[in-house]
């Protein structure tokens, strides 16, 4: 990792990868919330 003249390496490709992670995580957290909600409902029901 040698020192280079400043030129952003945060390319569109990297931005897309981060965006994808953010989307997947959002979906994953949503699924977990639904899981706990249904678990709670089952217990109450």
């Amino acid at each position: 990792m040698t020192q280079k003249k400043y030129q952003s390496k945060c390319t569109q490709e990297i931005k897309e990868k981060v965006k994808k992670i953010s989307q997947l995580l959002t979906e994953l957290f949503k699924k977990e919330d639904e899981f706990f909600k249904s678990l709670k409902n089952n217990k109450n029901g």
Binding site: T2, Q3, S8, E13, K15, K17, K19, F29, E32
Partner: protein, 558 residues
């Protein structure tokens, strides 16, 4: 579970107990007070003894159902027995436990419900003890000091008796014991430690290294009992004529302490419903292998701790005739990213956990009979090993500063390249498992929901590692890669929408900071020009709250 492990000292117990506002309790004094003529004093003492020391009869192992270990084991064929012994992860002496740890990975128990007869343990160890995997332990979902059995001659046997028979068969094997010193077991623990002291003293005289490590697991619920027990152990040894220095030396050689307080606890096991970020991929369930326990003989395998498998351990009962379900023994500790003992970075081949292998044929992957269960396990395993790789990156700077002078950033760069290469080699296999899993989605809704969850989980970790590997391959600065890995680890559901801005800002800030052509003022100016929110978001997401670093936190990236 999320513990810090240190050499054992009495002071931290005392200090923590005081901080928690708990009084020092001496069980011998309490017993005397329990017999007091003052009814109030007697009542208070009895209550304290019952809460921390005394065990109700029905919870005591000696009154639990007795099973025959040898009979249980002999059901298997000769070949199966050989493989079970060679790949043995644990021989659990009891079902149930009196530790009362609310965070126990496998759930809290209300006492011991079954145990092996001592005669069957002795017969088993005499016959097979020397053939057992040397890394096996005498506990798993249990505490070894709960073990008690009364034989036909009315003799009481405890863990120290099991250990003595074991030592006859494995004299030079390093053995590991973990305990919370359960209620009803303080005297058994002390008796064991007195034996261990003699064993270690002899070894010291012979110039040999210790062969026993006892870890005391402690938290708020048992700190008073642990403190009082260790003080009593120390006093007992001093009363026997040993010097304080000799006792401390023994503690130093053989005892470690693992404290488990709220902030250290991983949100897995019974705490999984508190989990709201991607921090907790590591679990104390750290082996593939066989677990022999009074109620069954199980195949145990490491996977990711999830809402469906909160312990991070897939466990299935093993029956005779299922030789292909015996896994090849594997300990996670052999696959750590960093080797804390030797201060060296591990080799590439040790970075990622391999898929679970068959003990009967290590070239073949172990496959569960139920295909849907099998694919869930495989995705869980991939998630687990990818998550650990991410954490290896995230933890690198901690390791670097701990071993300053011994580990260089150049070594770190090579290590990161190896991580990226290992991931690229594995990436295709993980993707294949995801594709395979999709074929099972047209199954019943409940099963499909679980498979969908695991596909998503594996995709998250695959994408995270893909990003980190890309940053490494594009020669981003080590500090940037480490910061991004930490961000991915810490991201919670409330911050996930800000992740793209945070990572983009972080990368740009670290690039500006690392530009040696810019003066400090120019760097500050360029960072401020990025976006008024960039620094704030990055600080928040990456949890940079240290008052010393909060202002211009990025300077440490230089």
């Amino acid at each position: 579970m999320g513990e810090s492990v240190d050499a054992l000292r009495i002071e931290p117990f005392t200090h923590t107990r005081k901080e928690l506002g708990l009084e020092f309790l001496d069980p011998d004094l309490l017993r005397a007070q329990a017999g007091s003529q003052d009814p109030q004093q007697a009542d208070e003492a009895r209550k304290k003894l019952l809460a921390l020391w005394d065990l109700p009869e029905e919870r005591d192992a000696k009154n639990a159902e007795t099973k025959d270990l040898l009979q249980q084991f002999e059901q298997f064929s000769e070949e199966e027995k050989k493989l079970i012994l060679e790949n043995l992860a644990g021989l659990q002496l009891t079902e149930g436990c009196n530790g009362g740890c609310y965070f126990c990975l496998f759930g809290t128990k209300k006492g011991v419900i079954a145990k092996y007869s001592f005669s069957s343990i002795r017969a088993f160890l005499e016959k097979y003890g020397s053939k057992m995997n040397q890394q096996m332990v005498f506990y798993w979902d249990s505490d070894p000091f709960d073990y008690r059995d009364i034989d036909e001659q009315e003799n009481l046997h405890t863990f120290v008796d099991v250990y003595k028979v074991f030592r006859q068969k494995q004299q030079e094997t390093c053995h590991y014991v973990s305990t919370s010193i359960p209620r009803g077991s303080t005297n058994d623990f002390i008796q064991f430690m007195l034996y261990a002291f003699d064993e270690d003293k002899l070894r010291q005289q012979q110039g040999k290294n210790p062969i026993l490590t006892v870890r005391i697991s402690w938290a708020k619920h048992n700190v008073q009992r642990v403190e009082a027990t260790i003080i009593k152990l120390k006093q007992t040894l001093i009363n026997k004529g040993y010097s304080e220095e000799e006792v401390d030396n023994f503690f130093e050689r053989c005892l470690i302490s693992g404290c488990r307080f709220e902030n250290d606890l991983k949100k897995i096991g019974p705490l999984i419903n508190q989990h709201n970020n991607m921090l907790d991929i590591e679990t104390p369930a750290c082996r593939d292998g066989i677990l022999i326990r009074p109620n069954s003989i199980d195949t145990i395998m490491m996977t990711a701790p999830t809402i469906y498998e909160p312990s991070g351990q897939k466990s299935i009962p093993l029956s005779p005739g299922q030789i292909d379900l015996i896994p090849l023994y594997l300990s996670r500790l052999d696959y750590e990213g960093y080797d804390q003992n030797s201060s060296t970075l591990r080799f590439k081949s040790r970075l990622m956990l391999p898929p679970i292998r068959k003990a009967a044929d290590p070239n073949q992957e172990l496959t569960l009979p139920n295909q849907k269960e099998d694919i869930v396990l495989k995705l869980g395993r991939e998630t687990y090993t990818l998550g650990r790789l991410r954490d290896d990156i995230a933890n690198f700077l901690d390791y670097y500063y701990q071993h300053l002078g011994k580990v260089t950033l150049t070594q770190g760069e090579i290590f990161f390249q190896e991580i990226a290469n290992s991931f690229r080699e594995r990436q295709k296999y993980t993707q294949q498992q995801i594709e395979k899993a999709r074929r099972y989605l047209s199954t019943n809704p409940q099963e499909a929901e679980k498979i969908e969850y695991y596909i998503l989980l594996a995709q998250v970790y695959l994408s995270e590692m893909d990003l980190l590997a890309t940053l490494i391959e594009r020669n981003f600065f080590i500090t940037t890669v480490v910061m991004v890995a930490n961000g991915l680890k810490k991201i919670g559901k409330n911050e996930v929408a800000q992740l793209p801005t945070a990572i983009e800002s972080l990368i740009k800030i670290s690039e500006i900071v690392s530009n040696k052509e810019l003066s400090e003022d120019e760097k500050r100016k360029q960072i401020e020009e990025l976006s008024p929110q960039a620094e704030v978001i990055v600080s928040k997401i990456f949890d940079l709250t240290n008052p010393d670093t909060n202002k211009n936190w990025w300077t440490f990236l230089i």
